[in-house]
């Protein structure tokens, strides 16, 4: 079968029941989507199929036949970062980075479907994505900022919305 990933069509040798995640990572060497759990529980394997976020770890590749798959590699490159990628840099929404590709794609799909900077709506849209490092706060900030159409200074990260700096000690 053929698989179209980030605009490029590949001929696939793997059997149609092979999880899409394994085809992407092992057969095609496209490693942006991560194997976090292979149980559909963490979201790190998320790819977009025809613009919809899907758990590639649970999807037999045969099911994706004919669909347009986008992985994080298709979102943007170093020379041409998409707004949401810029937002994740500026708002420090990635620490270890392992959940990041899934968060980016789910966030992008949310925005493409008309999502706004409403925090609760963003939480709802990304609810199935687990992050262990960031505590989610800056991920929400980044998606909200992208939805608002903010532009991003990539030379400096943003101050957290509920952060105060103070100096203490001997005066």
């Amino acid at each position: 079968m053929n698989l179209t990933v980030n605009g490029v069509t590949h001929e696939i040798d793997s059997s149609p029941l092979t999880p899409l995640l394994d085809v992407l990572r092992e057969e095609l060497g496209i490693t942006g989507a991560k194997a976090g759990c292979h149980q559909g529980g963490c979201g790190a394997c998320t790819v977009l199929i025809d613009g919809e976020p899907r758990r590639s770890c649970l999807m037999p590749v045969g099911y994706a036949d004919g669909g347009e798959i986008m992985t994080v590699e298709g979102l943007g490159t170093l020379d041409d970062l998409s707004p949401i990628q810029q937002a994740f840099i500026h708002h420090y929404a990635a620490q270890c980075g392992f959940c990041t590709s899934g968060m980016l794609l789910a966030g992008q799909a949310y925005i493409d479907h008309g999502g706004t900077d409403d925090e609760e709506a963003i939480q709802n849209a990304l609810a199935g994505h687990v992050c262990r490092c960031t505590g989610y706060s800056k991920i929400i900030d980044a998606v909200a900022a992208t939805a608002r159409g903010d532009s991003f200074d990539l030379t400096e990260t943003a101050v957290g919305k509920h952060t105060t700096m103070a100096t203490g000690g001997a005066e």
Binding site: C37, Q39, G41, C42, Y92, Q95, C96, G97, F98, Q123, N124, L126, A127, G128, H129, V130, R132, C133, T134, G135, Y136, S137, K138, I139, I140, T157, A158, V159, G160, H162, T163, T164, M165, A166, T167, G168, G169
Partner: protein
């Protein structure tokens, strides 16, 4: 059938560096012919951002722009030893090694520049990639040219090495626990105020807000410190109300094998997190920094437990504070069996949990009468 709000606080402290020290970190630096700086360190970045922190420290210490510095921690052939990224030591201990290496590089750059400019190195400083004569800013030379001169004129390789090791602090009296040296590099402090809501019908505890104040010594990168504080808050929340490897501890039944059955905090568990960062510099950390990575998940569970008591008048001292535990505690309160035992001066809580209630005599906990 109501929701009850409650508030609780906690104030904590946490050491920087491995307990009792003896945990070295090392770094070495070389300067390329165009002045660009290569740092080699063995510190793993586990998401905490140590690559960024050490690079900032090196850039600041030498006096070159941040983007002149590349960082390689990728393998043990080229990187020197680092004990590891744990014990909140990456910024202080590993960072100090990088700082020391950078100081050596700076001395050597100034030596070469001094020869080139015919000025005593002690009268020179490095700002933004330029070596400048103090008080005579028109007399200057770019670090790029200094490095070029070193390589092609003086036949020198500009390097720096740094090793940070606080000597092992030995327990000199096993009866009292006394040690011969402070067993830490620094101590950080924090406080947390939790605001929660308990549903007395379902038993669920929702964390609404965490107001947290952290003394981090010096925030080398304030946004990254926020990241640790916010991420730690969710991990502390998980320890407080959600997560348990053994739902029937000490029994081992029904361990959760998936994210749906093991309850790591999700986006919808997020409270509002207010962060106040205080900088009360450490005596000898890099630019006054102290550790933050671990303590970020310590103050929430006790603040939450106190808030639960404030909300519904029960003390739950087994974590996590699950709906089952809340409902059982409320039942006990209804039945009047949750009061502590009082006898003379004694106010005794949690007797049913004590070793005294479970052991057949091998272990007891008794108050000196």
């Amino acid at each position: 059938m109501a929701k009850h709000r409650g508030k609780g606080i906690a104030a904590i402290e946490y050491p920087t560096g491995m307990n009792q020290n003896g945990d070295p970190s090392q770094a070495w630096i070389k300067v390329k012919p165009d002045g660009r700086v290569d740092v080699f360190a063995g510190t793993a970045d586990i998401g905490n951002g140590s690559k960024t922190i050490q690079t900032q420290i090196v850039a600041e210490t030498i006096g070159v722009p941040y983007d002149w510095v590349t960082y390689d921690n990728s393998n043990t052939d080229s990187s020197p030893m680092c004990t590891g990224t744990f014990a909140s030591r990456a910024t202080f201990v590993a960072g100090m090694a990088a700082l020391k290496a950078a100081q050596e590089v700076k001395v050597k750059l100034l030596e070469i520049a001094g020869k080139e400019l015919e000025i005593d190195p002690s009268d020179l400083e490095i700002i933004d990639g330029e070596v400048i004569a103090k008080g005579a800013p028109q007399t200057k030379m770019s670090v790029a040219d200094v490095a070029g001169a070193a390589t092609f004129g003086h036949g020198e390789l500009i390097t720096g090495t740094g090793a940070q090791l606080k000597p092992y602090s030995t327990i000199i009296d096993s009866e009292s626990g006394a040690v011969d040296l402070p067993p830490h590099s620094a101590i950080s402090y924090a406080s947390c105020a939790a605001e929660i809501e308990v549903d007395d019908e379902t038993g669920q505890v929702r964390i609404l807000r965490l107001q947290q104040c952290y003394d981090v010594g010096r925030a080398i990168n304030p946004t990254q410190v926020e990241g640790q504080i916010e991420g730690g808050a969710m991990m502390g929340l998980g320890l407080g109300v959600l997560e348990n490897c053994y739902p029937y501890y000490p029994g081992v039944e029904h361990r959760g094998g998936m994210f749906g059955s093991y309850l790591a905090p999700g986006m919808e568990d997020m409270p509002q997190i207010d962060t106040i960062m205080i900088e009360n510099p450490s005596a000898d950390g890099p630019y006054g920094a102290k550790g933050i990575g671990e303590m970020a998940n310590n103050p929430q569970p006790p603040a939450i437990a106190a808030a639960v008591h404030d909300a519904i008048g029960v003390w739950i001292t087994e974590l996590p504070i699950t709906p089952e535990r809340v409902l059982r505690a409320l039942e006990a309160k209804e039945a009047g069996t949750s009061e502590p035992r009082r006898k003379g001066k004694l106010v005794v809580f949690d007797e049913e949990l004590s070793v005294n209630a479970v052991s057949s005599g091998g272990m007891r906990f008794e108050v000196p009468a």
